[in-house]
Amino acid sequence: MNIIVCAKQVIDVSEMKVDPNTKKPILQGVPQKISDIDKNAMEEAIKIKEKHGGKITVVTVGPSDAKERIKELLAMGADEGILVSHPEKYDYHVISSLLAEAIKKIGEYDIVLCGEASIDMFSGQVGPRVAALLNIPQITYAQSVTAEKDKVTAERNMGDKAVTTESTYPVLITVTKESNEPRLPSLMQILGAANKPINDWTADSLTSGLNPMVDTVELKGISMERKNVIYQNDLDESVSKLVDSLTKEGVLR
């Protein structure tokens, strides 16, 4: 089974701050990581490989420092990494086209795995977009995946409905956070990852003339100011103080 995992490098949103003066989010200097749910996609790929054998390739469109992140996925169990550089200006059309071209260049694949959404942008756009470009079926929001030799079945969380979908290969699957518990690589695996290949592919080598169709013209920070009155000591006293405060706020009636 040939499996491709699309993984994105993101900033750790829980470490992000908004500049109190400019009201802009501060993006510089925030720690980078693999988008949370892409690790679930990786774990799913490993489970399928453990069952059926094959090869796992990780593809990331991102800056050169994303190589460090790809190494984490190689340590988890991927066989090979591909880092595709992106043009200076990009949007979902550009990123998805590059991923689809990279996947076509890899050639043989049965399953493409993505996260249900990236933790920074949270669109869930890339998976279905890439599936369309590859002209293959898509199974989104998979909470559990059962891969067999010639077909895959997934239970999907569609909000007010739970849907069980089956597909032949090739197929693109996006997984949810609940699909599995991503493994932590051992020290041996981390050391071993250093010997696994990471290929650099330029955007131009895959396709030319890609321009964004959507421009981000502004980024406005949202800061949240709260009163932070915390009662801790005597419980009865805390409760009565809280009720008094809520009464004063006018929310108890």
């Binding site: 949270f122 669109s123 932070n228 009662y231 009720v243």
Partner: protein
């Protein structure tokens, strides 16, 4: 042409309201799309809520599959030369919009919280970085696809006298290689956290499903009646249905009062309730992140705090 589509009727009404404003601004007509059976009554309703035309794509496909619906909608986009496409942002709508964008090579913005024309260009705002920022996205090419969640726009007032044209067309598309084996309803009833004025939420701090009655009871005396929860309670443990789930991937709420018990306050939860009036946190860990996002907090064991709080509120409110 501006077209709107959602499999959720109420959401379509809301899209029609924004759609008619955009259509006016662009000097275009507004078409509502129905996929499935020819439902004339529904079509008339869409006209009374602002559609100039209704396009009914009749198909024998009986359940939603993104691949097939994308092909159908793609046909309609071509046929109507639609340049602006508004789609309802439920899970079906998001994967449909995204796949359509890939198929017809269009820009796409998911989960827009505002849509307008600026310098004649379609512009959409969306929340990014888990609620830390709003990105203003502007389309520089056509067609443009935007998805909008429910309750972002108010529907227009119904006008039964409006006239419009209903077009019906049989559209058959290639069958997808995927197959739906089972569909199960997960909704439990009439919970509507988005409209609630008071919400009491529970998280992993609860040890058993039965213990959720502690939030139920507090919610009842607060006359809020509405119970919310963090993602693990709905998605992992399935103690509550997804209509209670609040956060980045769940429902966005803005009650006057939001009480979070046994919730750690990860940014993805905060993203769903940060617009609440007053936020109260109950957590046994004084270092819990939730206290940073709270107006008031009690450090303590929820199993002790909640019954005491319920009693105190009961006394206060008489």
């Amino acid at each position: 042409m501006v077209i709107v589509y959602s499999d959720d009727k109420k959401l379509t009404f809301e899209l029609l309201s924004k759609g008619s404003e955009l259509a006016k601004g662009l000097g275009k007509k507004l078409t509502a799309v129905i996929i499935g059976k020819a439902d004339d009554n529904l079509a008339k309703e869409y006209i009374s809520f602002g559609a100039d035309n209704v396009f009914i794509a009749e198909t024998s496909i009986d359940s939603f599959k993104a691949e097939e619906y994308t092909d159908i909608l793609g046909n309609i986009v071509k046929e109507t030369s639609a340049e602006t496409i508004l789609i309802g942002s439920n899970k079906n709508g998001k994967e449909l919009a995204s796949r359509l964008a890939g198929k017809i090579n269009a820009g796409c913005v998911i989960d827009s919280t505002n849509v307008y024309l600026k310098d004649k260009k379609l512009t959409a705002e969306r929340v990014v970085y888990s609620g830390n920022a709003i990105a203003v996205e502007q389309f520089n090419s056509k067609p443009c696809i935007v998805t909008v969640p429910s309750k972002v726009f108010d529907p227009l007032k119904k006008d039964g006298g409006r006239k419009g044209e209903i077009v019906k067309k049989k559209i058959e598309v290639e069958k997808s290689a995927s197959k739906i084996l089972k569909v199960q309803d997960m909704k439990t009833g009439d919970v509507n956290v988005e409209d609630a004025e008071i919400i009491v939420s529970c998280g992993r701090g609860f040890k058993n499903k039965d213990d959720i009655k502690l939030v139920d009871e507090l919610a009842k005396v607060l006359k809020g009646k509405t119970v919310g929860c963090s993602r693990p309670i709905a998605a992992d443990l399935k103690w509550l249905s997804e209509d209670h789930w609040i956060g980045l991937s769940g429902h966005k709420v803005k009650p006057k009062l939001y009480i979070a018990a046994g919730i750690s306050g990860q940014i993805q939860h905060i993203a769903g309730m940060r617009d609440s009036g007053i936020i109260v946190a109950i957590n046994k860990d004084s270092e819990a992140l939730i206290f940073k996002s709270a107006d008031y907090g009690i450090v303590g064991d929820l199993y002790e705090v909640l019954p005491k709080l319920t009693n105190a509120v009961k006394e206060k409110m008489g």
